[in-house]
Symmetry: C2
Subunit: 136 residues, 2 copies
Amino acid sequence: MRGFLLDDRLANDTVSVSITGLCDLRLMKDRRWPWLVLVPRRAGISEIFELTPLDQVMLTFETNLVASALKAVTGATKINVGALGNIVRQLHVHVIARFEGDPNWPGAVWGYGKTEPYSNDDMKTFVARLQEALSP
Amino acid sequence: MRGFLLDDRLANDTVSVSITGLCDLRLMKDRRWPWLVLVPRRAGISEIFELTPLDQVMLTFETNLVASALKAVTGATKINVGALGNIVRQLHVHVIARFEGDPNWPGAVWGYGKTEPYSNDDMKTFVARLQEALSP
């Protein structure tokens, strides 16, 4: 983990849910969609293919564990997974629960409209449900 | 591979580049961005976490092989990787080369504007360059 620092913008836009192993798992502060972000705790990486092969496999399994938990917790129609990084270059993987009729369905969520904050209670409740779904 | 059939919309929007192992690698017929799609040749799968663990690892390595080759061929600023599937449910992974100043940079490409076709010659040349970059 030496040298890893969470990007300021990611830190500001998200709250911590848990450490999944390789990654810091965080919830986007936007109640329009249940939206998680996995940040591999490695310094200086912006593309998945820059990770070691072992880290690539870890990231895959952690992403799919999180995607599966998010589907179970939310009953989503579809899970969207994406690593874009055009603005924040620190490697991060979005895992988003989508529903028919949600804002911009079936289009992508990135860049769409304006962030809507959770209430503190709603955010705490949702983080607790995610933590429970992710616990062994 | 039993039972695998390429979705009609994916077949119509893309041309074949190669078989990477698990996946059918295809080029999107849209010259606005160098845009590849990997389709795991497994029937009835719409989420990555529905694949077997071995297939998940195969998909990761094939995606990153393709992403790395696309970066080398195009000199892209950033590679975007995404599995959305809100419209076409058959699991497919987008691998897209992005450049500062390209259409909708730094936003996402999905749902943006209208497709622009390649000329036949340009498409053939680009497919050949990709095939060369992917050959051992």
